[in-house]
């Protein structure tokens, strides 16, 4: 009797399911950043809005990378359904608090995938996911930096919000150059 399961792919079903779940998470993160950018834009924070538009695009690229990997190794990539994301934020700072929270949740999810890959001896997927481990370190650092700026610059001072907006937009510039 043939082993049909391994005839077309070495990707185990449980790994395929968590990779699809990660696709959904990355797509959701992209949508969240887009909503945050929209809020910032309509409240006058044009420069930090641009920064979050770029983040939204980056998250979409992360999503596509996993999506294509699933099909590349013979699995079934499922277009994720993304539900409602928050459209309103109480303050300028709360946007970046939510961003950091979202990045930490993504990091945890990626760690779980790596752990699962090791459990089922799927070293190809583990190797693929290591790129995300490095990427998340960078993403978390940037999200934390934004919150640090709120501690360094008094947003209630006359030009505080204006300076914060400009400084946040500079985050991550060094690695993009």
């Amino acid at each position: 009797m043939k082993d049909l399961l391994r005839l077309r792919t070495s990707l185990k079903e449980e790994i395929e399911i968590i990779l699809n779940a990660q696709c959904k998470m990355e797509a959701e993160a992209s949508q969240k950043y887009l909503a945050m950018a929209s809020w910032l834009d309509r409240n006058g924070f044009a420069k930090s809005a641009e920064y979050l538009y770029a983040q939204a695009e980056e998250e979409r690229q992360h999503f596509l990378k996993i999506f294509k990997y699933i099909t590349e190794v013979g699995g079934t990539a499922i277009t994720p359904i993304v539900g409602e994301v928050p459209q309103e934020y109480p303050t300028f700072k709360s946007v970046f608090e939510a961003a950091l929270q979202s990045e930490i949740a993504v990091t945890n999810a990626i760690n779980k995938i790596v752990a699962k890959c090791r459990e089922v001896n799927d070293y190809a997927t583990e190797d693929f996911m290591m790129w995300y481990v490095t990427e998340q370190r960078e993403e978390e650092k940037n999200a934390r930096r934004a919150l640090e700026l709120f501690d360094l610059i008094d947003s209630e001072s006359p030009t505080g919000k204006f300076v914060l907006d400009k400084e946040i937009a500079k985050i991550g510039e060094a690695e993009n150059e």
Partner: protein, 118 residues
């Protein structure tokens, strides 16, 4: 629809249906409620996930007519199944049993290498 030959292997059978594997076509044949459906392995696993995604809690407690049946369709395989709550439970049992056998055979292949498994 198909004859039970050497290349047809029974994966799981319940009083309501059966699942077979054909080594010639590399397909999984599901016999359930007067229909025989043939799937590629990946699509069979997807079909199982679809059946598991049905909210049976809603079917039990929601008195609205639209929760009396669940329709599961596949344009690729050109079928449409209208399933009651009982059908869903019975189909889940059948699909889970078949998946267990498929996984078990795969594990045996992994452990035993290229040995022929009858």
């Amino acid at each position: 629809m198909y004859k039970k030959e050497n290349h047809i292997h029974e994966l799981y059978t319940t009083p309501k249906g059966s699942v077979h594997q054909c080594d010639l076509t590399d397909k999984i044949y599901l016999t359930f409620k007067d229909s025989v459906l043939a799937f590629k392995i990946q699509d069979f696993l997807m079909f199982r996930r679809k059946v598991h995604a049905v909210d049976i809690h809603e079917m039990i407690f929601n008195l609205s007519d639209k929760y009396d049946f669940e329709v599961i369709e596949s344009q690729q395989y050109q079928f449409s199944l209208k399933l009651t709550l009982c059908d869903i439970i019975q189909l889940r049992e059948l699909l889970d049993g078949a998946r267990f056998t498929i996984e078990m055979y795969s594990m045996l292949h992994e452990v035993l290498g290229d040995f022929e498994i009858a």
